[in-house]
Symmetry: C2
Subunit: 479 residues, 2 copies
């Protein structure tokens, strides 16, 4: 992608003190927790967004909340920007550093502190991976619900920063619906605790505010999350349709009927072909659109729910219905879906958009966004969380052709504006990061943005935490 989106100008005074800053940080951290050499810094210059690269001033990998506090206290005293980082899997550039920033990577804080079945909670350090929470609770019959495609790698700290979702969030909600408490270090090094195992802490719901704030209000070092009991059984079912519109209308009618399956995933023909070629998941290749609907519960419950869904699908002219017949088949169906981004990356460069729309607008936005991409002479594959109205058009282009890249970016922006016009949002689960920062003006009035920025300033008055992200660079308050 072309560098149409800038970063804040690096602070020269910080760059000039680089050597001194590294010496000072070395006093605060174990030797293996500080990286200052170019080769060591290289892996931290971007994240899964990949479109931009910046070498940070230094990378720290603290092992304790106290070390995080010491780093933030030091950086805030000297006006040094700080960029928090989990596993670097952000798709919106949320973890991309800047030249004058100290990266605080949480990867060494990866301990599971407590699994409490009486309260159905897990308390973990922020660098714990999403999937490892479910693994730790699995033997007792519980799991952690939000399941981003990157769940093998991504950390709970990053999930909190981006309010991450996943295929199974239709029933169980996204991160904010499953987060009960955090320990967090404020910009000046103060450690605060928000929420906890018991219901509804008094005073303001700062956890709700922190979740999705993209590392700008503080650095979360520990989190308490809700565990969910594994269902008795779960069964993904494939529904093939002759058109994307029919599939989209079917989704809207399922939801309007009050049925909440665990997941309703949507794939159009390009996405089906890409994923099937990669995963041999058994997807039908003679349809224009596919829904993966997962039901769960006892056999009787699954049968009953499925029956209602099949009736609705028939009204929309469903062409093929295929139930998974074994755990292996079910796993393959999900493998195909979860590898969609990786599989697409093998055949083309792409940008992945993340808009949401009200379900009543799904068919309209699908058709219009196809026309938009075609208008730029590009191809698109759609694979997304349809039950949530959370669309992921993957716009295919050639990263080595600057004009192609510019067209892809323009098409993506047009699609996100279309989502907003249809009553939706710029992002469902990937966050704003750098990618959608300047589009925030399409979603919000200046008064709305001013209020969000005022809330930010209540935590970080000098905009030191992840400063280039979320808000347009123009129109910020003086700091």
């Amino acid at each position: 992608m072309p560098e149409t989106i800038g970063f804040l100008e690096p602070r020269q005074a910080v760059l000039d003190r680089r050597r001194e800053i590294l010496i000072d940080l070395a006093d605060l951290l174990p030797e293996a927790s500080l990286i200052g050499d170019e080769r060591g810094l290289k892996p931290f210059e971007t994240d899964a967004f990949l479109a931009y690269r910046r070498m940070p001033l230094a990378v720290t990998l603290p092992e304790t909340t106290e070390q995080v506090a010491a780093i933030l206290k030091y950086c805030s005293r000297y006006g040094i920007p700080v960029v928090p980082r989990g596993a670097g899997t952000s798709l919106s550039g949320g973890a991309i550093p800047q030249e004058d920033a100290v990266v605080v990577g949480l990867s060494k804080m990866s301990r599971i502190l407590d699994i409490d079945l009486f309260n159905r909670t897990a308390t973990v350090q922020a660098g714990v991976t999403n999937l490892s929470i479910s693994e730790a609770a699995g033997a007792d019959g519980f799991f952690y619900a939000p399941d981003p495609s990157s769940q093998l790698a991504c950390t709970i700290g990053g999930n909190i920063g981006m309010n991450s979702g996943g295929a199974h969030c239709l029933k169980y909600g996204v991160t904010t619906n499953n987060l009960l408490g955090v320990k967090m270090v404020l910009c000046d090094g103060t450690v605060i605790e928000l929420g906890g195992k018991a219901l509804d802490a008094p005073g303001y719901d700062l956890i709700g505010l922190v979740c999705g704030s993209e590392g700008q209000l503080g650095i979360v070092t520990e989190a308490t999350v809700r565990l969910i009991a594994k269902p008795e059984g779960a069964r993904p079912v494939l529904f093939g349709f002759d058109s994307s519109e029919a599939a989209g209308s079917c989704v809207a009618d399922i939801i309007a009927a009050g049925i909440i399956p665990v997941a309703i995933e949507f794939m159009d023909k390009p996405a089906i072909e890409i994923c099937e070629a990669f995963a041999q998941a058994g997807y039908p290749l003679d349809v224009e659109a596919l829904l993966i609907v997962e039901v769960e519960g006892s056999e009787a419950e699954m049968d009953a729910t499925l029956q209602s869904i099949i009736e609705i699908a028939r009204r929309h002219g469903v062409k093929t219905i295929k139930e998974s017949q074994s755990a292996l088949e079910a796993a393959l169906i999900w493998k195909g879906r979860k590898s969609a981004f990786g599989a697409t990356g093998r055949i083309a460069d792409y940008i992945c958009m993340d808009g949401t729309v009200p379900l009543s607008q799904l068919s309209h936005v699908l058709r219009r966004s196809g026309e938009i991409v075609a208008g730029y002479g590009l191809r698109v594959a759609n694979v997304f969380h349809a039950g949530d109205g959370n669309m992921h058009p993957l716009i295919l282009y050639d990263i080595n052709d600057p004009e192609d890249a510019a067209r892809a970016e323009a098409a993506g922006n047009d699609i996100l504006k279309l989502c907003v016009e249809a009553g939706g949002c710029l992002t469902g689960e990937h966050g704003v990061g750098i990618e959608k920062r300047d589009l925030m003006r399409h979603q919000y009035s200046q008064a709305d943005l001013d209020q969000q920025m005022a809330a930010r300033a209540a935590f970080d008055p000098h905009w030191l935490l992840n400063p280039s992200k979320v808000f347009p660079l123009e129109g910020r308050p003086a700091t």
Copy 2:
């Protein structure tokens, strides 16, 4: 209750301008929307907390968002405190005015604007009552889940302010889990919109922050809430036990087994007797503690869930199990529970506490709080949302005996401190208001409180909105 909890000193400059303020407000509002005479103001001098009374300077009853904006713009220009009010059903004094305040009552903004089944949402004005949302969506088979006992009277605006819960929140969550968007007037009259029908707005989750902020960040004038499909069937079942400890342990084991009924309500013997005398609900009178467990779904699902719960209850020596045999019986069971506070009020004065505890601590806290109240020579009735760990000890006393009242308040404070020590919270659903303001120091460190107050100041820098509530009067920042 003795007036141990004060209000902020009224601003003399505001009191002196009372006449002029009324004339100015009359320019902004229809005649029937402004109350300035003593007789008209009288009904607004307190709320359901009842312990304190203050006559406000004026009461406004705006009919539109624009009128709310005009009032706030005027009041903020002249430094006049504003107290928002829904139906005045707050149990923590959240709507009690102060002498120098203009009350903004939302009762005239009571229209349901939109029922959208495709997106399972209702958009309503803030003065709409909780129950009327469910009534409006009922014919289509949907309802609004949070169900405070006061749901016939309380407004959605008040529910948002207090993040209200209810008996059925175990499965469906409290207000914050069911609120999708708001239109809100900021202190200076600016109107902002947060969230909406589509998933996960980008930028900060200010809705999460606003929900539960007790009217201190702005005045919500419209809300978009989630509708839930009515279950196929629902069945409350009574489980009687020989001791409160056994009932409490049973609750913890149900939850630890991963079973989430719609509701698990707890009543001890005094509460059973009070409610049965009032409602003839068919509660067993020969047990020490009663659980009302409601399961829902198809007949087969209800049977299966109930079977698992009965097995757990047997392990805890359940004495009687009684399933409701008809819709009438089911309604009576809930009538008994929901009238608990009113029925108690007929036999004694009481204060209702609202602490939460981790479920593993439930039995311990029940026993200890009984000892605390007995130590003060008083009686207690317990009736609460056990599945959520949200306790409601009703401490019985004589409001005309100042010493008795002081003992009741002391006992209540001791119980809330006990909840916090057990890892719980000061409030589950009633809010902090005036009642628990000074107890916030037991829950939070000064750093925690400072951060909450900084967030408040980002919305209302001069502390004009509901200023005497939530935070201790001492230790506030200068405004």
